[in-house]
Symmetry: C2
Subunit: 251 residues, 2 copies
Amino acid sequence: MRLTPLSDIPEITPGTDLAGLLSERAAAAGAGPGDILVIAHKVVSKAEGQIVTLADVVPSPAAEELARETGKDPRLCQVILGESRRVVRRRGATLICETHHGFVCANAAVDVSNVPDGAVVLLPRDPDRSARHIQSRVAQTAGGRVGVVVADTHGRAFRRGIVNVAIGVAGFRAVVDHRGRRDREGRVMVATEQALADELAAAAGILMDKAGGLPAILIQGVETEWAPGTAADLLRDPVHDLFRNEEEHTS
Amino acid sequence: MRLTPLSDIPEITPGTDLAGLLSERAAAAGAGPGDILVIAHKVVSKAEGQIVTLADVVPSPAAEELARETGKDPRLCQVILGESRRVVRRRGATLICETHHGFVCANAAVDVSNVPDGAVVLLPRDPDRSARHIQSRVAQTAGGRVGVVVADTHGRAFRRGIVNVAIGVAGFRAVVDHRGRRDREGRVMVATEQALADELAAAAGILMDKAGGLPAILIQGVETEWAPGTAADLLRDPVHDLFRNEEEHTS
């Protein structure tokens, strides 16, 4: 298995033909059938114009209150609430939100780094669709099926540090179901669903420059199972989640 | 960055010279200075004799009660409670425990797959020490500094599927601190601690055969920072954890 950062990705702005750019760069890096391309969501979001200028935001009373409680800019709080289905946890300046997509992450993934002052970047509206769009273009230059992961860095419960996870998936099954297969001793395995798309995102994260320089990583030599693909497969139904259903604050 | 499974790892039993075996196999795979070896904890645990035969276990009244509540074998419950500092969440047959090391995971990581019937495998007593022991042997044959990660597959809050995480680390800094560095726009980055050892474990997990066949993966071409290394760097202090401090059941 080999991971190669795509080189010469320029600063992405709204309207950049990102899919075309990535398909060229992936071809230059030797992308072929079966390969996976992992892309930091920020370039996808920027290309799709998912940028908000805080000066244009009028905070609601709820955002004003959240700003007082967290010490954040009220306009940023307005944007975060707009991206959130609910606030899952809050302590001090820390806000863990469930986005409209269903991702649970800090500040509803609203991000202030690597953007011009006074602007914030949101997640893509439909990261699976973004992934599919890029996938179809990259597949053309790669000459066959490829997989695409749109990734974001998330914190985790219980563990320090951020890791990349998949928020958009196209072209392969995001979760591999090993249940029913047998282990070396011949025992049927239970409860073994492998979050393959998250593992691929995390692997790519090792090479993604945190200053924003290397946002796309080509992964070669991984077996995947063809599927349309969706990051929704990675979301635990809140009903089955042991860590979401207490102390909830509806935004 | 390249990942290569070490080949010809036989079934590991208590007393196997695992460090010697891995250092040979890593050398055969071309391991050199700066490389990282990720090892599934199960082979480490087996080599260290961290195996319990359930027939030898006498369940306590607390284990009997937990068995009634969860439908698990009372002797398995006894082993799980013995490995746990506390039970963090419980629902149906699902038990999320904090181990004596501080890891939060299902069943305190007590594992019944890939072991002979009637036996269960525990985590290594001190996975950092296990990692250091393997590291010193692998470094000798590799001719310079190497890193070692002992990994286990964990479920996550909010997300489906398991991923490999680091439970033992030697030879490099497990968490990379990017705080204070500047992004492309020249803004100082905040809150960016990268869980590098977990990313490496997740990457290796892609190639680890879930039936137990490929327990050691060599990773080459990753920049790491020299440090003695410890997985404790990856543990969030429970005081700062937003998802642990409610509904706790002391075992």
